[in-house]
Amino acid sequence: MQTPPFIPQSAYFHEHVQPGDRRLKKLKAEVDRHNLTEMWDMILTLDYQVASAHELSHETKEEFYGIIELLLKAFVKE
């Protein structure tokens, strides 16, 4: 019998959590790439009063992602 591959606990993401985290990672990378990191931090700390997007509830995260998508559209030439 073949031994199953070892998967550390830290690598496990619940299937309903993973898509949101992918979106977070993708948006953060875009924001960093376009020199908008300070704007990301400003909205997080002044409006949502948290230091990291990971601290946001699911619903609030969706709202924050919406603002960040508008931020990218507002600053980045297409």
């Binding site: 908008l36 300070e38 400003m42 002044l46 998508e69 508008l70 559209k73 507002a74 600053f75």
Partner: protein, 164 residues
Amino acid sequence: MLTTKRPVFTELGTEAIDKGLADPQLSAFYESMMSSSGLVNENLREHMPYLSLCSDKLEGIGPPPIFYVGRRSSQRSLFGDEWAMQQGQELRTPDPDLEYASAEGYRAALSGRPYYGYARTALHLEGGTIEIAFERLIMTLRPSAHSDRRFCAYFGVIQDLQQQ
């Protein structure tokens, strides 16, 4: 009460704020940002719900695209939550005439001069026409002293609104 349909977009100048003629909350925002030389700091937090924020990207004849609409801002109360959170394209006010008429204030603010003015106009929305009078302050802010980023903050105060 509004008595004319002729659109008016006039600059009053920030001297009017200094003289105490502007809305108190708008004045508090102006004074707070002037005292920080337009740099974002903790003091901005209390004003965020009343602000709309847009980029510094002036292209064509309209103002820059919006990316943040405060929960208690005049734009959200006028155009609604659905408009404020729409996705898929740049966020702009839904009335092209208003876009065109309001652009001058953003141009002034982006040239380094805070813009304070009064406007009276008809808004043509899906639900019909609204006659509205409002004062508005537009300032250019920077997220930090060493940042080369800048953005516009819009503080609007509706003084009169009538559904036609």
